[in-house]
């Protein structure tokens, strides 16, 4: 009797625990994205008002723009309510990924060519092509730079609209005050790498407080893209499957970088850095600094500490300075039930007005000729140079298997011994680096 009682209790316990475990397990099963969105907060049962949840990275400039544009947009479109959900940039991918897996994704989201983010979003099923929306809304694609549109066209499909764009690591920021003090001429478009090295030497002070030139080694992949182009070579082969750093011209480019640190000693070695590279630039410790257009935002920090201006990359043996289109995009998600309204909002963010506002806030502007050429922005002399570089920017190239961020992360690590002087740019060393990157490029598409 007593035994039977325990048995039933036991079997009851077993049954309930099995059931709860089963439930918990079932809930944890990963679902492909195609499953209809369970709707999180999106399931607001509003009768006439459509709610658009849009995802972005947390960022001072971009958030300032969103907060400025959302009320404007909602005033123009009283039937749409836009809700911003922004997340820390470093964890943006992780956050979006879990929302994709959980089916709680919103209606539109930020994405970018950098790190093949947009390619991944596409392969992950986060975003949907906008070709049909472009056609049905009669959107004139000529508004944006063609190179920008190409950058976010994957598998023949346009995956969003260009939000902001810049010509890669194609800008040399220079400290005009320091150059005047050294009695030198400021760089002009068309200057050569020899001239750049000479100027860098003149700007490097003996007391070690000012360095002549810091190339963009914190983003070494992009630095190599532009630098190899200036030598008339490509970092990635035409079909983007082969890594060509150890080519003859690639070797020259790597040696050029190495010499800046170790031979001419005009660039601060890692243990000579007294802060982040942008901090060194904005504190007047660098004569020249290679960056994207976003570095101009530090003009505010510089204030009247010194005069600064920009020039295009110095021209190398290949006859160009090197550049490539960098695009951030806003996209419509696969999860949205209101693609038209979401696309309306995307268009608003990629409009001329938003592009110019971005520029007035500071930093990188919209990826449109009418923004780069807008009189409001050309008032700033450095933006005149930006426009020139952007109008001539070279096409971007992303690794064919989309493992861009893996390859970039690896290259960043592998090249670091060069700047520290732990390695020399020998053929063997560069071959070793190249083969490790090639291993990543040989992996299948995710």
């Amino acid at each position: 009797m007593a035994t039977q009682q325990t048995m039933t209790r036991r079997s009851f316990l077993r049954a309930t625990s099995m059931a709860s475990v089963g439930l918990a397990l079932a809930a944890c099963a990963p679902v492909p994205v195609a499953a209809p969105a369970a709707g999180g907060a999106a399931a607001a049962p509003s009768t006439d008002k459509v709610q658009i949840r849009f995802h972005a990275r947390i960022g001072a400039q971009e958030d300032a723009l969103y907060d400025m544009q959302i009320p404007k947009f909602m005033e123009a479109h009283p039937n749409i309510e836009v809700v911003k959900e922004s997340f820390p940039g470093a964890e943006y991918n992780a956050k979006i990924s879990t929302m994709v897996a959980g089916g709680t994704l919103g209606d539109s989201c930020w994405s970018a060519l950098g790190g093949a983010t947009i390619q991944f979003a596409w392969s992950q099923g986060t975003i949907t092509p906008v070709d049909d929306l472009v056609a049905s809304n009669n959107v004139d694609l000529k508004q944006w730079y063609e190179g920008c549109l190409k950058g976010i066209t994957v598998d023949g499909k346009l995956l969003g609209l260009p939000f902001k764009s810049h010509p890669g690591l194609a800008v040399i920021y220079y400290n005009e005050t320091a150059i005047e003090a050294a009695g030198k001429e400021v760089p002009k478009a068309g200057w050569t790498q020899e001239q750049q090295v000479e100027l860098a030497k003149a700007l490097t002070t003996a007391d070690g407080k000012q360095f002549g030139y810091l190339p963009g080694i914190t983003n070494i992949w992009k630095t190599c893209v532009t630098l190899l182009r200036s030598y008339g070579e490509q970092l990635l082969s035409e079909d983007a499957t082969k890594f060509q750093l150890n080519s003859e011209k690639g070797m020259q480019a790597v040696t050029f970088l190495y010499d800046l640190f170790q031979t001419h000693k005009v660039a601060p070695k890692p243990d000579q850095m007294v802060g982040a590279d942008t901090e060194m630039w904005s504190n007047g410790l660098l004569g020249m600094y290679q960056g994207g257009t976003s570095v101009s935002v530090f003009g505010k920090t510089i204030g009247d500490k010194f005069k600064w201006m920009v020039a295009p990359n110095a021209i190398g043996p290949g006859g160009v300075g090197g550049s490539d289109y960098e695009v951030d995009a806003h996209c419509v998600t696969t999860a949205t039930k209101h693609p038209n309204e979401a696309f309306e909002w995307v268009q608003f963010l990629c409009s001329k007005d938003s592009g110019i506002q971005l520029g007035l806030i500071g930093g990188t502007v919209g990826g449109r000729p009418d923004v780069y050429g807008a009189p409001e922005l050309l008032k700033f002399p450095f933006r005149v140079v930006f426009k020139e570089i952007m109008d001539n920017a070279q096409a971007s190239r992303i690794t064919a298997n989309w493992r861009q961020s893996e390859a970039e992360a690896a290259l960043l690590q592998l090249m670091q011994p060069l700047w520290a002087g732990n390695e020399k740019p020998t053929q063997a060393f560069v071959d070793g680096v190249t083969s490790q990157i090639q291993d990543i490029l040989n992996k299948p598409k995710p």
């Binding site: 944890c28 947390i58 001072a60 930093g363």
Partner: protein
Amino acid sequence: MATTEQRVRPGINNPSMPIGQTKRSPFNQRFSTFLLYVVTIITALAFSVPFLWTIASSLKSASELHVFPPTFWPETIRWKNYSDVFTLVPFARFIWNTVIITALAMIGQIVSAAAVAYGFSRFKFPGRDALFFLVLSTMMLPWQVTIVPTFLLFRYLGWINTFWPLIIPSYFGGGAFYIFLLRQFFMTIPRDLDEAAKLDGASSVRIFWSIILPLAKAAVATVAIFSFLQHWNEFIGPLIFLNSTDKFTLSIGLRYFLDNPFESDEPREAILMAASLIVALPPLVLFFVAQQYFVRGIVTTGLKG
């Protein structure tokens, strides 16, 4: 060796001898006291100088943050960094959210972890050691790979973008860490005590409540401090389970200051330091409150009555 302790321990209970009193010569005693202070002060300095650096930096302006060579104390103090923390991002809102989550989760964690630890430390049942190892093992699988399934689970429960995923699990076992910690402490409490109470007919609830918990005050205070700090600083959970800015917590709020400068001369890193100090203040206050429980020990007062 263990037998030695057992021989010595229960018999020795001499309340007439004040704690800390020793029988060395006065000079020796004064010298060792002096040495004690010197060592303590030097160590305290090593610990607090970087922290003082944080305080000093939190008051610097953009131009003083990266001067060469660096200065410790700012020439002009920029108090505005502290008000900037609240005006640049909805920091007050983040504080409020974090307070709610931390308070609710902490209560659940202390109560349930203590109960479970009591079960593991005072009862014999089949599979106990295996189950306890299972408790430990839940600490060992990295969150990086369980976060997606966990997210799916909470979505299934309809808890996404609510505080529940950050609070409810605390009430069920309250985290392996705390169970383990309390179990270790409960095991240092002499078993004769609850055996005696049991003979007097006390129920296990009563033993738990009136013998174990009072004797483990120091441990419970410790758990309170940890639990508070854990929820106060938690980053990944809030990031993954919350979507709306008005529900975000402090640790996400701090990330806002890692970005580019907001306005002309705002010293981003100084504001980050100011925000960090604001974040560190409540746990520090709690520490002072909880400290009194460390001072009087658990076994120092008479045990067997």
